[in-house]
């Protein structure tokens, strides 16, 4: 049998292929992004796949496919499920015609996220089963299981990953694609139109379904007991299972592949057969709560920390009843925070906003790094789309005379995800908001996915390219302009005009992400030390290619891509291209 080293995300994609999934949707988000990327790369011949505009849209598209009898999968990061929660709760009532799986990738420790959130709770909240794989092989297998369970029990299935599952690679045995059902639309009013009268009946169906699923959990082969020494018994799931096997190989283990609903008899029997019972799980006491409901009280969150991701040493200490270990790190090592890339087109905009002392409501993307020194040009970052709406609220609180000092900054992908509604709200409610769309022609933060503003689809096709100016005008913005952030003067003038404008202004900072423009990078710039007066204005850009040595600016020629912004900012004309420099020598 063929074997491959796959990440959890790649294995989910493979699972979708083998399970006969026909439609897959997602909005990118670390750590889930590579699922749809892998489907787009390897399986687009068999699976229609799309980058949806946001997670709510993604789930609704997948749901439509299921209505029509196709198998569907929708993937998102943990906070994406908050955005998609509305259709997911309805979907629980409606159930599955074609099997449907929602993949949530949680991010314990917040490697790339704004919060830590345990989405297994959505299973309990929405009455839907939750599967939790422990490695890439299980990622693949659980998609196949998930589709089966979905179709057999008429339910959506939540497949919960965490960063260490999504982004760890392990060996996977590949299988064949099963035959998919033939899509066919059959009208089923009482099920898909969830009017109160219908929904009341569906609510009862959902409760009955959960009971049946709990019975199934008893015989589900991915819920298994590994009996060993009976002194210690550990109930665990997901990545935690691996840490348990690593540090307590002698213990007996009840590994739950399905964490909701749990198998009550299996748990009771296991609890009775060991002396000391633990639950080891990351984040919330989710399994523990279910075990408590059976009248069993194992050692759980009073031993295993509630916060951040687990690792072998944390689990080891928890089982020994020792305090949570903190790895010793040298104190004299300066931190290496993430930074905007050399030549990042966002930098100049933030440089100006900082100088203009604006109140900047920010948003989520690479550009959130504009909040850090030396740019210091962002005051808030809440969730996708909140920049625009937070600005409206601040203006309403401070009064319209202060509107000139407030600006919302939002990336192109984020604007399309959930900034447009805020723009309409601003106009409708007679605001004077200033909105800057940072259009770097891609979804950069999550690894450069196309979106509706790029005119490309996940499947590689050309498509209609959203026109921000036309859209803003149609929404009622009265000052609309596009500028090039590599042009310092144009940037300064456009910002000034827009902020002074009375109505809602939308300006588009348009310049391709520096990482995508590699074939157009220019020669590195160069500092004429004789002319540099050490004023440090260039350093305020926060460009990683710029540094200071002996009170003079220096440019790292390996990093510099020759964007020329620092040279335009230099009051002494000390920053030059090599060409300019040699021309001077000739004279």
């Amino acid at each position: 049998m063929d074997k491959e080293l796959l990440s959890g995300n790649e294995a989910i994609a493979r699972g979708a292929y083998e399970a006969g999934v026909q439609v897959a949707t997602a909005y990118p988000g670390t750590p889930s992004t590579e699922i749809l990327e892998a489907i787009g790369k390897r399986y687009k011949g068999d699976i229609y796949c799309e980058w949806s505009v946001n997670e709510k849209v993604a789930v609704e598209v997948a749901m439509g496919a299921s209505f029509a009898g196709a198998r569907a999968l929708s993937a998102m990061k943990h906070v994406g499920l908050n955005v998609a929660a509305d259709p997911v709760f309805s979907l629980s009532y409606i159930g599955a015609t074609g099997g449907i799986i929602i993949v949530t990738a949680d991010d314990p420790y917040m490697h790339s996220s704004q919060n830590e959130q345990d989405n297994r709770n959505y299973g309990r909240h929405a009455y839907i089963p939750v599967l939790e794989p422990s490695d890439s092989q299980e990622c693949k297998d659980y998609v196949v299981w998930g589709i089966k369970i979905s179709e057999e029990f008429d339910t959506p299935v939540l497949l919960r990953l965490t960063t260490r599952i999504s982004h760890s690679k392990s060996i996977v045995e590949l299988g064949e694609r099963v035959e998919s059902p033939k899509p066919d639309y059959v009208k089923e009013l009482s099920r898909r139109v969830i009017l109160p009268a219908f929904a009341r009946k569906l609510r009862l169906k959902v409760i009955k379904r959960l009971k049946k699923l709990a019975e199934f959990a008893e015989i589900f082969p991915e819920n298994r007991v590994e009996m060993n020494d009976t002194k210690i018994g550990i109930i665990t799931s997901g990545i935690s299972y691996n840490y348990v096997k690593e540090v307590a190989p002698e213990a007996s283990v009840l590994k739950l592949g399905m964490v909701y609903p749990v198998p009550p008899y299996m748990i009771k029997k296991f609890a009775e057969s060991v002396d000391d019972l633990y639950v080891v799980e990351e984040l919330d006491p989710f399994i523990e709560t279910e075990v408590n409901r059976l009248g069993i009280f194992p050692k759980g969150k009073s031993y295993v920390p509630l916060y951040y991701e687990l690792n072998p040493e944390r689990v080891e200490c928890a089982l020994k009843g020792e305090p949570d270990p903190v790895p010793e790190m040298p104190e004299d090592a300066p931190l290496r925070p993430p930074v905007l890339c050399p030549g990042c087109p966002h930098a100049n905009v933030f440089y100006h906003l900082h100088r203009m002392k604006m109140i900047v409501t920010g948003d989520i993307g690479c550009y959130t790094l504009g909040a850090l020194p030396p740019l210091n040009a962002m005051d808030t970052c809440v969730c996708m789309g909140a920049s625009v709406t937070n600005a409206i609220g601040i203006e309403k609180a401070l009064g319209r005379e202060n509107a000139k000092k407030i600006v919302a900054v939002i990336g192109d992908s984020t604007f399309i995800h959930s900034g447009i509604t805020g723009l309409i709200d601003a106009v409708y409610n007679k605001g004077h908001s200033n909105i800057i769309i940072l259009d770097n022609r891609t979804t950069a933060m999550t690894g450069h996915q196309p979106h509706p503003g790029t005119g490309k689809t996940l499947m590689g096709d050309e498509t209609f390219e959203l026109n921000y100016e036309e859209l803003a005008k149609a929404c009622g913005a009265t000052y609309v302009k596009t500028f090039d952030p590599y042009d310092v003067e144009e940037t300064a003038e456009t910002l000034k005009e827009a902020f002074e404008h009375e109505g809602v202004s939308v300006i588009v900072s348009k310049r391709e992400c520096a990482l995508l423009a590699r074939d157009r990078w220019k020669e590195a710039m160069w500092v004429d030390v004789e002319m540099c007066n050490g004023c440090r204005i260039c350093l305020q850009l926060g460009c990683p290619a710029l540094g200071i040595v002996d009170k003079k600016a220096v440019i790292d020629e390996v990093l510099c891509i020759g964007c020329g912004v620092c040279s335009q900012l230099c009051p002494e004309d000390a920053i030059k291209t090599h060409k300019e420099a040699s021309a001077k020598e000739v004279k």
């Binding site: 750590p31 490697h111 690792n311 072998p312 300066p334 905007l340 020194p373």
Partner: protein, 193 residues
């Protein structure tokens, strides 16, 4: 005891660490080992510190290595190597590229790049190999080959077949850069006597 290697790779975003850990995993897989490999993507890659772990044995559970338990620590940058130097075992191997990349607080003059890191690192492991992989890569004509130079060094300290390493590189490096990378690999192998 059966063979096992717990390898930690550290450095800065943009240094090609993911490709390096990929090559190690592929080479080990070619010899039939079980593997777990963990990376962090996303925000951290924007020029921040990057850590990747590869664990190789007959059966591997955790993708993460216990603190103080790494058999081999491969540091692509001096400061980053120093930062996690306590993760390597007392009798482990520590391979350090002495290249320095200033983090933003240093580049902007707010903090200093610490001095004497080589000496501090030396007391941390059984065997320490220092090299300047950047110089070697530049001599070959491409500073991006740093990662494969490091793989060359590592290949001398791990009991995997030369052929497996070469196959792994062939599979994972784009064809147009293969020749350069094979040279970088050989140069790395020459570093260890």
């Amino acid at each position: 005891m059966a063979k096992k290697w717990d390898i930690m790779i550290t450095g800065c975003g943009g240094q090609g660490i993911l490709l390096a850990s990929e090559i190690i995993a592929e080479a080990a897989m070619l010899e039939g080992y079980d593997i777990k490999k963990a990376d962090v993507h996303g925000m951290a890659q924007r020029g921040g510190s990057v850590i990747s772990t590869v664990r190789i044995a007959d059966k591997v559970y955790s993708p993460l290595i216990k603190y103080g338990d790494a058999d081999i620590l491969l540091a692509f940058e001096l400061l980053e190597g120093y930062r996690v130097s306590k993760y390597v075992r007392d009798d482990g191997v520590f391979i350090v590229n002495t290249q320095r990349i200033n983090p933003m607080p240093v580049a902007s003059g707010r903090e200093k790049y610490p001095e004497g890191l080589e000496d501090k690192i030396k007391c941390n492991a059984g065997r320490v190999v220092f090299l300047n992989a950047l110089d070697i890569a530049k001599e070959l004509g491409n500073f991006r080959a740093v990662n494969v130079v490091m793989i060359g060094v590592l290949s001398r300290l791990m009991d995997l077949k030369l052929d497996s390493w070469k196959k792994a590189i062939e599979r994972l490096v784009p064809a147009k850069h293969l020749e350069l990378n094979m040279k970088a690999f050989e140069k790395g192998r020459e570093v260890v006597g």
